[in-house]
Point group: C2
Chain length 121, copies 2
Amino acid sequence: MVVSPNPNGETTHSEMRDLKWSASEKAIARKAFDLALGRELEEVMIKAKKWAEKIRHPSDLWELERYLYESRKQINQKYDYRYSVLPMVFGVLIRQGRLTERDLRGLREDKLGYIRRYLKL
Amino acid sequence: MVVSPNPNGETTHSEMRDLKWSASEKAIARKAFDLALGRELEEVMIKAKKWAEKIRHPSDLWELERYLYESRKQINQKYDYRYSVLPMVFGVLIRQGRLTERDLRGLREDKLGYIRRYLKL
């Protein structure tokens, strides 16, 4: 995603790469990231178990395989812990209801501002 | 697999492609093929269910995905219902203990001879 340069001094996508993360911000980010990832993996585990219980036909097996494949791919794509993209990752997670702004309390306004603008897009 | 031409008049791999299958032989072959395939799929279903019950960590999910992927690939490769390769497929299935010669009773000697020679290889 590319966000155009903004005359109001708001953080743009290209500027996001240059954001400085303090040690405490990194700790907050890591915790929130792991919280969301852990919840999502837990959901997949619960769903896979239920799915497996209902297997009756061979086609159910390959549907489960497809579900696991898609889940793994989607999780790998979404959970990208590079600081250069992390505000956008948090924006996605908030939009999907996997995190709230409260989980990110303690991040500075440069990051939170980016996340809020992402949510308004 | 290539079987060399044989001066004793035994069916070779290239001759296998030219074997004629009667309607009753086709029925016998179809039944045996479906029997072995059904059993193998049943095994994968049982194993996948047990596997899913034991999922505790995310890595268990991706191991199950890998198991399903490998099973599907291996089954697709092995169960090839082309008459041009069917005697060899039956040879593999007997060798793996998935069929016995009794399941193929009614096939003519040209096919059974090929299968027996495959088993001796």
